[in-house]
Symmetry: C2
Subunit: 105 residues, 2 copies
DNA sequence: TCCTTTCATCGATGGACGTCGATATGAACT
DNA sequence: AGTTCATATCGACGTCCATCGATGAAAGGA
């Protein structure tokens, strides 16, 4: 897609970004702007996980957890696979790394 | 403060985080969950900047820009210094780097 | 002291978000 | 088909947020 990312922190070659890129970056950061979603991402960082485990872990209603998973999916931070009855979620490493590079990696 | 940070992405030693840490991390990410604030941080990454320049740059009302600066200040991502009539804002590199490490540094 | 400039704060408003119960979808098993 | 379990979607409600105009506070100059 794009070879270089704009950097938000103090690299030696910091470049200005336009409104579109700022909006795209903000949308991704917004997906992490909720404690439940941060915890979900942290959990998925330990490996693939099915929704039923997440439902049991977070003391929230099942629709609420499903909603947060959708937000993370729409942001491209996680992906899901249906295997039989259960749906398994996993991190999308490239997306997380892209955010990290944005912060000055 | 703390020697090690929880990591949200695919490091080899990813550790689970508690609700408090998840809330603190989400609060910081929320400070970046707005296009204007992402653009402000990107602008400050190029060096110190006074508020009047930011007001001119973002086509928003002066109170709105001031509000965003306060959000970033409360999150610890930027700091300000008053010199004479003008207030100068700058990035807090440690805070940004901390977020970066959270994403898998 | 009065005026101007710069920035922060206040109060209000419209829209977005997190949460839930109810319901729909979809897969496995009898 | 009918039943049960696992997820997703829908609709509603309360709260938070971005934005604005108006106002306050602080500094410098006439």
């Amino acid at each position: 897609m794009q070879t270089r990312l704009p950097v938000l922190c103090c690299g030696p070659a910091t470049k200005p970004i336009g409104p579109r890129q700022a909006g795209a970056l903000a949308a991704r950061f917004r997906a992490l702007a909720d404690p439940t979603r941060v915890a979900i991402v942290n959990r998925l960082a330990q490996g693939e996980c099915c929704v039923c485990d997440l439902n049991a872990a977070f003391d929230l209603s099942q629709p609420t957890v499903s909603h947060h998973l959708k937000v993370l999916r729409d942001a491209g931070l996680v992906a899901s696979t249906r295997r039989g009855t259960w749906a398994y979620y996993r991190l999308v490493p490239d997306a997380v790394q892209q955010l990290r590079q944005t912060l000055g990696g």
